[in-house]
Every structure is written in structure tokens, then in C-alpha cells.
Amino acid sequence: MINFFKKRPPANLPEFWKTYENCFLEKQPEEVNLVRFVVLDTETTGFDYIYDRILSIGALNLTNNHIAINQSFELYLIQDHYNAETAKIHGILKNGRGTECITEIEALKQFLAFVGNAVIIAHHTIFDINMINQALERHQLPKLLNKTLDTSTLYRNTLLTSNVFKKKDHYSLDELAEKFDISMKDRHTAIGDAYITAIAFLKIWTRLKSKGPLKLKDLIKLGS
């Protein structure tokens, strides 16, 4: 746990960052049903943390098995750097098409306000978090403070441990969607992937919980 009082960040941080940071004064409840989760997915121009950029961020609010659609978060970023290859996968053209695009700093500002102290869930979380942290660094901001969960790791923990079959190191979102019978209609849009991740998380959670009572800290141990 970071102690905010001992090690204060530089004073010249913008107001929106301070607001974000203050959210963490409030601790997350240990009962998983009461925890606010934000399920997140980013679409990017590629897989290089330094050169590639975020194309869009999709995020959903998940609390007590409820996802309120009007509290979902979906935005598209104006691009300086552009990779035509990955755009083919995501279908996002430079500076969007028909959708409003905003600057990176504006996107970060809105995202921090949305995410607050929620526990972040994503599929291969480390990638999305790193992309966002890189963007934060470009604007001289510290890294995200949120606790995180990775559905790939969590799913791995639902599988039986047996020598009879080998678990893979990673499971793709497609594999999860197939196993849990989740429609892949909006695959490769940030919000669509976030939704698939959210439903997969709920199903994984049910399965994990069936083996014994779990608090938030246990869940984080299993999924990060």
C-alpha cells in the first residue's frame, strides 16, 4: 500500500490528478459484492509501449454484478502517430470517423475522473495499464494507483490443476468468450472487449467463489 502522507508527490500536479489521488483515501471494502470495479480495455496502434499510442478507451462500471450502461465510458483519441496495420484490426481510422475525438490529456483527465479508486479489471491487464502509464508519463504525471485484476490469470486459476492436461500460460479473450459462450460481436472495439471481459470476470468469479469464501484481497492475490 502506498502511504500518501509520507511520500507526497510533487506539488505542481494538476488539480484533476489531486482529485484522483484523494479518491484513494477511502479504502475499498473487503466484501467483493460491495467493491466498485472498472472493467477496462484500450485499443492501441500497436504493442510497443514507447512508440504506439492509445486509439480508444472503453470502460464499464461493475458493482455487485450490475453494469449500468449509462455509466459506461467510451472515448476516441486524436492521433499524431498512426499505424495503418493495426487500424485494420480495430477498424478505427486516424482521428476516428463519425465519432468525436479528443486529445490524449483530455482523455486521461476524463478517465481518471471515471476510474477513481475502483479496482481495474482487464484482460492481460499489464498491457493496458502500461499504455495508460506511458501516456501519463508523457504528460509528467505519476502512474495509476489502482489495484488491478487480470481475467487471463483469474481464468487460469479456475482450471483444475492436474498432470492430465497442461494449462496454458495465457488464455486469449477469444478463448474465454468461447468457453463462456459470450457473443463476440463487438470484439476489437474497446468497449466491446471491456464488456466481454466483464461477463467473463463474473463467470470466473462465480467459479472461484464456489471453492470457498473469497475476500477482495484473496481475489487480488489470484488475479494479478
Binding site: F165, K179, T189, G192, K203
Partner: protein, 641 residues
């Protein structure tokens, strides 16, 4: 929010279902943005009877929700994808009249009433839909045209279980148009009368009592063949005595009666005996028409099914059939035979559909094997899928593409089986796993590996795999595989020792004080594990014994014990006891499973009646005896245990 992909998707779903299909595009778009998506685990309650109304009503997106009422929680209705529930109390401003509970893992859309209500007021079609749906509740709620949308309340009807509509336990409707003749009527006259009255059977009566029956078939066999002249009297060619039943017999009883004596007509008499007045005839055809839910009709429906979704529905009827059979105490051997046949037919149909989906025909012959409980024909309830595929040997250069073909096929089949209700196997023992989709030689290699190096995993794999049963495809492949298993196990008798000691590793059902031992932790804490502690010791023992006798193609456990009793007359008593115990436990498990809509594996001991507990404990004595027999026969030392 400028754009919302999720709400668009919600709108895409809703627009297929009334009353949302009546809304304008922009209304639907606005509505969809305000929806909350809710995930419910199986058995989670959405609202309870007498709860004050929520601010939203619900639409089932995925899964199923049961509406229940009263202390006994009778199921009044089952809501499927696209069905609305919990709306009426919000409009009538009253408390919920029912409990809504997730029947399986479910995703719901919660629609805020304050957004929806203005549309219902503005849009005449939507309003009409609501009025009609509410009104229909006072009439027959199961009439097809009103089925399934908005009823929240079904007054004055009392509980109607879903099986009542699907499987009719009401008395049969028999033909009261009784066509009869006397013992002296000639065959010619009988045939003329039957043609005139358009019936397939004629009752022969004497003083109004039925003494025999003559059917089309009897006339064909006896007269048309020239065996008897056309002037023969009825008494010569009639079938006698007549099988008689009372008019209160249920459809299931009638079915069983016909199956048992392989006849197509039953005579209904006043008191059910041949010594009272005949009042009607019940033909197989009457039975079929009366209710489309008998095994033969279901088989036909399965074979005709065009989509996987159709089979899913048929499987629900199979479950209702199973429930009815159990309630009527029909012997388990017969029940499991019928149900397994039906389940097998479903799987076969799924495989046929999968083959149709493949761009090409299979390159070589193959066989689809059901493993584990399904292979043993003991899977009465829906559980996980365990299966494997074997294909004919191909030259090395063809291996890669052939394997790829069958893996692709298996993937479609596994998905299809999932769609009809078989969960994926958590240990990936499915043909879509490259380790379970092999050529005949590859399988032989794998089996050799298991048999010659029998560690714990190899024994586990063998115990699942060796109960295989051909579900679809080439039987010669399967026979070759079986022959090979006998050959190799006879060569390495040490394997039996390991298999037998594996069979003795299941935890004991009772403790020192003969109390039932329950699970200590996990989801099923304080429950009794019927499968691991009682059924598995019996199935495991039967497997190793029957393998050591090299008996092919008897897969189900009671059947194996009966065969063993025949092979070893000196042990007949214990083997028959095992057969009986297995049947009793399977029945017990199935009943528990139906009661709780699960696999029936875990049992709440405190909910059992005294009688059930005694029954259960009686089987444990048999388990202990068969385990002792194994220990002695395979000379299992304590080291191995």
C-alpha cells in the same frame, strides 16, 4: 455520452422481442442507454414474493428465470431469452406476487419503469400488448399465442408445473367408440366391420366381458397368409387374454404396458380387470396423438431437428419424461435405457449437423466415443461432456491435415453439445483437445503408455477412457481398440493391480460411528458426496473386474455386475447386491438432481428422510464387501493403498 456501443447491442437484441419491436428506433436507443445489465448466478433470487416493486422490470438476455410461488415454491413459469418478467407490479403499484429466481446462470437487462412507461402510454401497440398480456393471465396462460411474455400473475389457476404441460400425467383419452364382435363372428365379417368403422382393432366380447382382441396384424398373419380360411371364427384367431387396464391409467403407464408386452392395443375395462365390462380401446396411435411426449415421438423430433436450438428444447422434455418415470417408480434399468437412448440420439444429431457444417466429408472413417458416465449409459441428468474421437490410420504425410480436420469437426461438436446443455469438461477431456482426438495407432500408443506405466494419472485416464461407448461412426475402429485393450492388459496383469487399488482409494462413506461422512470444506461443505463416496467405488470395482474377464461392450455398471454374477456363480450373491446397490444409488442421485436442478452429486444429509438414510446406508455394506473382494483377488498390499 457521444457513442455507446453496448447500448446499441442491447437495442439490437430487444428489437426482436415484443413489445420493444413496436418502439421507434430513437425510443429504443434512448431506452437502451438507461438499461442496467445484471449477472445472476444459478439460484440467485431477483425478487421475492411480497417484496415491494423494484424501479425496473426485467428481460432475460441469456439463461432462464423461474417464477415461483407459495411455500413450496412451485414453478409457475420459466422465462427464456427475450421474455419479460416483473412488470405488472410496477404498473399496478403492488408487491411482487411471485419469486423470480435464476434457474441457471443468467444475464438480465433491467429496464427502468419511468423510462418505459411514457412509451407504453404514447404507443398504442405497446399499450395493447401490455393489456392483452395482462388479460391473458386470467385465461389459459399456456395458450400458444400468449405464451411467455408479460404475465406476472396467474390467478385462480393454482400451481402449474412446467411438466404438466409437457408431460401429461392425466388419465389417457381412450377411444370410447367400442367396436366389438362375438367369438363366433367370422374373419370376413370382422374385416368388413373394421373397414367400415375405420378402426385397427376389434374386441371380442362375451357377456360384455373382453375375451380377446383381433388387430389388423392378426388378420394379416392368419387370414391373408392363407393359414386360415376367411370363414374362420374369431375365437380361433383372436389374441387372448386381453391386457386390460382401468380408465384412470396414466399415459406413462399405458406406454410401459405396451412396451412390456409389445402390443399395440390395450383394453380399458370398468375396474381394470378382464372380469368387468369393456368400455374402450386404447391404441398406440391414440397415445401418440394424446401427447407428443413419448420416447418414440421425441426420437423422431430429434431426428427431424434442423437446429441445435431445437434439440436443446427437446432435452428439456427428456428431463420431464425422466421425472415422470421416477415418480411412477418405473424400474431404473428401463428408465436409464430409454433416457440414455434419447440422449444418445441428441448427440448423434449434433454430430450429423456438425458434419454438415464441415466443408468436406471426413477424409477417413472415424468414431465418436462417449466416455465416463455417458459411456456407461448412467448419465440420466445433464452433466459435463467427456468424449474422444478415433480415426483410421493414415500415412504419415496425411497425418497433419487429417488431424486438423477431425479437430475442427470436434470443436463444432463440442460447441453443439455445449449448446444443448452439456457443460465443457473442466479437465478438457473432449475430442477438441488434441490429446483426445487421435488415430487408431496413436490411441494404441497412448493406451500402452497407461497400461505399462500405471501411475495415478494413468489410472485416472484409463478409468475414464475404458468406459467408452460408440456414439457415432465406425464400429470396427472401436472393436479394434477394445481388442487391443484386452490384449495389452492381459500382457501386463500388474495394471489390474493398480486399477484395483485405484478403485479402493475413494474415501469411505461412513465414519467410525457409522455416521455419514460429509465434506469438510469448499462449496459443498457439510454435504454428502454421493458420487465419490458411494457410486465411484462401485463403478470402479465393476470396471476392473469386467476388464480382467475381457468382457467387451458391457459398459453400464449394473449390467457389468449381472454379467459378473453369471461368470462367477460362487460370487453371484455379492455381485447381484452390487448391481442392486448401484441402481439404488443412481436413482437416488437422479431424484436429488431433479429436485435441485443440479447433478445430484451432493446431498444434504439433514434433509433426508429416515427411510432414505437407511436405504443409503444399506448400500454401504455392499460397497465394503466388494472392496474386500478386490483386495483379496488382486492381492493389494497396504503399501499400494
Amino acid at each position: 455520452m457521444m457513442k455507446n456501443t453496448i447500448s446499441e447491442r442491447v437495442a439490437d437484441f430487444l428489437e426482436h422481442f415484443p413489445p420493444f419491436n413496436e418502439l421507434a428506433q430513437d425510443q429504443l436507443a434512448t431506452l437502451s442507454k438507461e438499461i442496467t445489465i445484471i449477472y445472476k448466478e444459478k439460484d440467485n433470487v431477483i425478487f421475492s414474493e411480497n417484496d415491494p416493486p423494484h424501479t425496473s422490470f426485467y428481460v432475460v438476455h441469456k439463461g432462464a428465470v423461474a417464477l415461483k410461488r407459495g411455500e413450496k415454491m412451485d414453478i409457475l413459469d420459466m422465462c427464456d431469452e427475450g421474455d419479460i418478467f416483473g412488470l405488472r407490479p410496477l404498473i399496478a403499484l403492488e408487491n411482487y406476487k411471485m419469486t423470480a429466481q435464476a434457474h441457471e446462470e443468467t444475464i438480465l437487462y433491467a429496464i427502468p419503469i419511468h423510462i418505459f412507461k411514457p412509451y407504453a402510454r404514447e404507443n398504442k401497440e405497446v399499450g395493447n400488448f401490455l393489456i392483452e398480456s395482462f388479460a391473458s393471465n386470467t385465461r389459459n396462460p399456456y395458450s400458444k399465442s400468449h405464451r411467455g411474455k408479460l404475465y406476472e400473475e396467474i390467478p385462480n389457476l393454482g400451481p402449474i408445473t412446467p411438466e404438466a404441460q409437457l408431460f401429461d400425467l392425466q388419465p389417457v383419452k381412450y377411444s370410447k367408440k367400442l367396436i366389438s364382435c362375438s367369438a363366433t363372428t367370422t374373419a370376413k365379417e370382422i374385416a368388413e366391420k373394421m373397414t367400415e368403422k375405420k378402426v385397427g382393432a376389434m374386441l371380442v366380447v362375451e357377456d360384455k366381458l373382453p375375451i380377446g382382441i383381433i388387430t389388423d396384424k392378426d388378420l394379416r398373419n392368419n387370414i391373408v397368409t392363407g393359414k386360415y380360411p376367411i370363414t374362420t371364427e374369431a375365437s380361433k384367431i383372436m389374441v387372448s387374454p386381453v391386457i386390460t387396464y382401468a380408465k384412470s391409467m396414466t399415459i406413462t403407464q399405458a406406454q410401459i404396458a405396451m412396451m412390456k408386452s409389445s402390443i399395440s392395443h390395450l383394453c380399458i375395462t370398468k375396474d381394470g380387470t378382464p372380469n368387468s365390462k369393456a368400455i374402450g380401446i386404447l391404441s398406440k396411435h391414440d397415445l401418440m396423438v394424446a401427447i407428443g411426449n413419448n420416447p418414440a415421438v421425441l426420437i423422431k423430433a430429434i431426428q427431424r431437428a434442423k437446429k441445435v436450438k431445437n434439440i436443446r428444447n427437446i432435452r428439456k422434455s427428456i428431463t420431464h419424461l425422466l421425472r415422470a418415470y421416477l415418480e411412477q417408480n418405473i424400474p431404473l434399468t428401463l428408465t436409464s435405457k430409454i433416457i440414455s437412448e434419447l440422449n444418445d440420439a441428441c448427440i448423434k444429431r449434433v454430430i450429423e449437423m456438425a458434419l454438415d457444417k464441415m466443408p468436406e466429408k471426413p477424409p477417413v472413417a472415424f468414431a465418436w466415443l462417449s466416455l465416463g458416465s455417458q459411456g456407461r449409459n448412467e448419465q440420466l441428468l445433464q452433466t459435463d461432456q467427456d468424449n474422444a474421437l478415433v480415426f483410421q490410420n493414415v500415412p504419415d504425410e496425411k497425418m497433419e491435415e487429417t488431424t486438423a480436420y477431425f479437430l475442427e469437426l470436434s470443436k463444432i461438436i463440442n460447441k453443439g453439445l455445449f449448446d444443448i446443455g452439456y457443460e465443457y469438461c473442466p479437465a478438457e477431456m473432449m475430442a477438441s483437445n488434441p490429446n483426445w482426438c487421435l488415430s487408431l495407432d496413436q490411441w494404441k500408443k497412448a493406451i500402452t503408455q497407461w497400461v505399462t506405466n500405471p501411475g495415478a494419472d494413468e489410472i485416472l485416464l484409463s478409468s475414464i477412457f475404458f468406459d467408452y461407448n460408440l456414439t457415432y461412426g465406425d464400429i470396427t475402429l472401436v472393436n479394434q481398440l477394445s481388442d487391443y485393450i484386452f490384449e495389452i492388459t492381459q500382457k501386463y496383469p500388474i495394471f489390474f493391480l493398480h486399477l484395483a487399488s485405484g478403485a479402493l482409494q475413494n474415501p469411505s462413506p461412513t465414519g467410525f460411528f457409522r455416521q455419514l461422512l460429509v465434506e469438510q470444506d469448499g462449496e459443498h461443505k457439510d454435504f454428502f458426496d454421493l458420487k465419490r463416496r458411494a457410486l465411484m467405488p462401485l463403478t470402479d470395482a465393476a470396471r476392473v473386474l469386467i476388464l480382467s474377464h475381457s468382457v467387451k461392450s458391457i459398459n453400464n455398471t449394473p449390467g457389468r455386475y449381472e454379467k459378473l454374477a453369471e461368470l462367477e456363480p460362487n460370487n453371484e450373491e455379492i455381485f447381484m447386491a452390487c448391481s442392486y446397490a448401484t441402481k439404488a444409488l443412481l436413482k437416488f442421485r437422479t431424484k436429488q438432481g431433479l429436485l435441485h436442478n443440479d447433478s445430484g452429486r451432493y446431498i444434504a444429509i439433514d434433509k433426508l428422510t429416515k427411510e432414505d438414510k437407511v436405504k443409503l446406508k444399506r448400500t454401504f455394506k455392499t460397497i465394503k464387501e466388494i472392496q474386500e473382494l478386490l483386495t483379496v483377488r488382486f492381492k493389494i498390499s497396504n503399501i499400494l493403498r
